[in-house]
Amino acid sequence: MSTATTIVKPVMPERHYLNDNYGIRSWLLTKDHKRIAILYLITITFFFFLGGIFAALIRLHLLTPNGELFQSDTYNKLFTMHGVNMIFFFLVPSVPATLGNFLLPIMIGTKDLAFPKINLLSWYIFVVGAGFALAALVTGGVDTGWTFYAPLSTGYLRTHVILLAVGVLIAGFASIFTGLNFIVTVHRMRAPGMTWGRLPLFVWANYATSIIMILGTPVIAITLILVALERGFHIGIFDPNLGGDPVLFQHMFWFYSHPAVYIMILPGMGVISEIVTCFSRKRVFGYSFIAFSSIAIAVFGFVVWAHHMFVAGISVYSALVFSVLSYAVAIPSAVKVFNWTATMYKGSVKLDTPMLYALAFIGLFTIGGMTGLFLAALGLDIHIHDTYFVIAHFHYVMVGGMVTAYLGGLHFWWPKITGRMYPEPPAKLAALVTFIGFNLTFFPQFILGYLGMPRRYWAYPPEFQVLNVLSTAGASILAVGFILPLIYFAWSLKFGEIAGDNPWQAAGLEWETSSPPPTHNFDKPPVVTKEPYHYGDEEADGVH
C-alpha cells in the first residue's frame, strides 16, 4: 500500500563504529565487539582461501590415478593442512566470531558483550594459534591428517606435529573465550523486555553453540597436550609399544571433535532462521521447537562420538549404543528443516541472494544430514567408513550447509555491517555458480565412496578416474563461485548503494539502529515489547 510520500534516499550516518576512531591502534586495541568481528572476518577469510588453495591442489592432483602432480608426502600434507585450516581456522570461528560477535549484543539490545577485553583477547589468541599453524606450514607442513591419530602422529612422522597441535589448541582457547562471553552476555545483559522467549533464533543457536564450545574444547586441548608430550618426551600414553592405548586417543579426540561439528553447523542454522523469516515476511512456524532443537543438538551431540569408531575395535555393545544415539541426534535437525519449510508456506517470498543461499542450505543440508543416517547404520558403516562417502557427507553439511549459511548471512547483514548494499546481480550469479559447482564436486564422491575408494589416497585404481575428474571439474566451478563474492564485496565498500537502517525491512533489534551502527549500538537503549519476527505488524510498521 503505497502512500503519496516520496521515498527518502538513505544516507550514511555521520558517526558510526567504523569512523568513530581512526588509526591502527584504534583497531588493534579496540574493545568494540563490531570491530573485533571485522578483525575476525579478515583473519578467517584469509584462512578460508588458504584452505581453499590446498583443496584446489588436492583436486588437481586427483585428476590422474597415478599420483603424478605431487609426491605422496606432499599430498598427505595438503589434505592435512586443508582439513586443519578449514575446520579450526575457518569453520569453528566462522559465524560465531564474525556475525555472532557483531550481532549478538545488538540483537539482545545491549551495548557490547559482557567482557569486551576478553573478546579482543580471544582474537589475539586466535592469531597466535594461527601463527603456530602457519609456522608448521612454512617449516614443511604436517602430514598426520586433521585427526592426528596415534600412534602415527606420536611416533612415526618427522613433520612438525607439535607446532601444529599447539596452534590448534591455542586457537581452541579463542573459541572457549568467545563461547564464555556469549553465554554470560545472553544470561545477564538482555535489554528490558527481551525475555528468553523473545530472543532471535540466531541468538539461541549461538547460545547452544557456546555451550558446546565451553564444554568440548577443553578436552581437545588436553588431548593435544598429551600428544605433544608423547611426541616431545617419548612417553607412552597412546603408543602401545610403551603400554599405551591408541584407541583411547580416538575416544578423547572424538569426544570434542564430534560436538565440534555441531559448533560448526548450529550458528549456520541460526542464520537460516533469520533469513527465511525475513524473506517470507512471516514469523517462524515453531519458535520453541527450533529454539529447543538447538539445545537438544548441543546435548545429544556429546553422547555420539564413538560413531566415528565403529570399526576401530570398540565392543559390539558400545557400537549399538552409539548408533542408536546418533539417530536420536538427527531428529532435532529434521525438525528444523520441516519448520523452515513450513515457515515459507503462505508467506510472501522474495528470492534475494540471502534467501537463495538459505534455500540452498535447506536442500543441501537435508541431503548431507540424511547421508549421515547411512553412516550411523552399523552394518553399512563398515563398508563406507573412511571412504569418499564420508568426505561427501561432511562436505555436504559443512560446505553445502555451513559455508552456504555463512555466505547467506554475510549477504543479509552486509548492509548492516558496512552501510552499503552488495550488488545483487553478480551475487545471484555467484550463488548459482556455487550451487552448481558444489554439487558437481561432491555428489560423485558419494558414488566413489560406495565403490570403495578410501580417503586420503594419493593414488587410486584407474576405474575411479572418471568420477574424480567430474569432481575436479566441479571444484573449478566452485572456486569461481567463492571468488566472486570476494570481488563484489570489496567493490561494494566503495561503490555499493547506501543501505539505510533497514533495507530488507526485517524484524529484529539490529535493524532498528543505523547502518552501520554507532559504536554504542543504540542511540537510545531499546525496550522490547514485540515478539520476534513480528512481520504481521506490517501495517503498524508502515511497511508494504
Binding site: 551495548k111 569486551p116 554470560v184 577443553p218 578436552v219 612417553i235 607412552g236 599405551g244 583411547l248 554504542h520
Partner: protein, 257 residues
C-alpha cells in the same frame, strides 16, 4: 546512559557495557564460574585417561605411588588449604574495605603458594635424581630397575622396592612392573605439571590483585576482582585435593602388596 540514582553507577570501575555495578558483578562472577567449568572439563579429560591406565596397570601404579613422598604431598595439601583460607580472608577483608588486611592476606596466600611450588620443585628434583622422569629426553632418562646412579644401584630402583615389600615376587616380574611405572610417572608429571602451571598463573593474578588492593581499589561497593581471584584460587586448590589421593595414596593402607 543509566537512569539509576545510586552513587555506585558512577563508580570508576564500572565498565561501559554494564548498566550498574550489580550487573557487572553478577556477570563477572558468572563468567568466572563458566571459565572454571571449562577447566573442570580439561582436568577431567586428563583424570579420565589416568583412571583408565590405573585400572590397566594397577600394580605399577601402586609401585609408582609408593615412590613419591606422602609426607611432602600431605604438607603441600595443608599449605594449599591454608592458602585458600588466607585467600578467603583477603576477600572478606576486601568486602569490608580493610586495605591493610587485604594486602597482608594476599601476601600470605602468595607465600603459601610459593611454598607449594617450592615443595613441588624439590619433589621434581628428587624424581630427576632417581631417574623417574619418563621418556628419554630429560636428564638421564627413565630407569626404575637399577642403574640410575653409577655408584648406587638402589637409587630410584622401584624393582628393588617391590621385592622388598614382597620377597616372593621374582626379579623378572618386579622389573616388568617397574617398566610399567613409566606410565604412572607420565601422568604424575602431566597432572601435577598442569596444576603447577595453573598455580603459577594464580601467583601472577595474586600479584596483580595485591597491587590493586594496596592502592585501595577494593571496598564494599567493588571487590569483584578479589572475588574472582578467590574463585580461581579455590578451584586450583580443589584440583590438588583430587590429585593428592589419586597420585600419592594408591593402596597406601595396605602394608606391603
Amino acid at each position: 546512559m543509566s537512569t539509576s540514582q545510586t552513587t555506585t553507577d558512577h563508580h570508576p570501575a564500572l565498565a561501559h557495557q554494564f548498566d550498574s555495578m550489580e550487573q557487572q558483578q553478577n556477570a563477572s562472577t558468572f563468567g568466572m564460574w563458566v571459565f572454571l567449568l571449562t577447566e573442570i572439563m580439561m582436568f577431567g579429560g586428563l583424570f579420565t585417561a589416568y583412571l583408565i591406565y590405573r585400572i590397566k596397570f594397577y600394580p605399577a601404579f601402586v609401585a609408582g605411588s609408593t615412590s613419591i613422598s606422602v609426607s611432602w604431598g600431605f604438607a603441600n595439601t595443608l599449605v594449599l588449604i591454608g592458602s585458600s583460607f588466607t585467600m578467603a580472608m583477603a576477600v572478606w577483608a576486601a568486602q569490608r574495605g580493610k586495605r591493610q588486611m587485604q594486602v597482608w592476606f594476599l601476601i600470605g596466600t602468595m607465600v603459601l603458594g610459593a611454598a607449594f611450588l617450592g615443595v613441588k620443585a624439590k619433589e621434581y628434583t628428587d624424581k630427576y635424581q632417581e631417574c623417574h622422569i619418563p621418556g628419554h629426553v630429560i636428564g638421564k632418562g627413565f630407569n626404575t630397575w637399577g642403574g640410575c646412579s653409577a655408584s648406587d644401584n638402589k637409587l630410584g630402583n622401584i624393582a628393588d622396592e617391590i621385592r622388598e615389600k614382597d620377597p616372593n615376587i621374582p626379579e623378572g616380574a618386579a622389573k616388568q612392573t617397574a617398566h610399567q611405572t613409566e606410565i604412572f610417572f607420565s601422568f604424575y608429571f602431566a597432572m601435577t605439571g598442569l596444576h603447577a602451571f595453573h598455580m603459577v598463573i594464580g601467583m601472577g593474578l595474586m600479584t596483580w590483585l595485591t597491587l590493586r588492593a594496596s592502592r585501595g581499589e577494593f571496598g564494599p561497593q567493588y571487590y569483584t576482582p578479589m572475588e574472582l581471584g578467590g574463585l580461581y584460587w579455590h578451584f586450583v586448590d580443589i584440583v590438588w585435593i583430587f590429585l593428592f589421593p589419586l597420585l600419592y595414596l594408591i593402596s597406601r593402607h595396605h602394608h606391603g602388596v
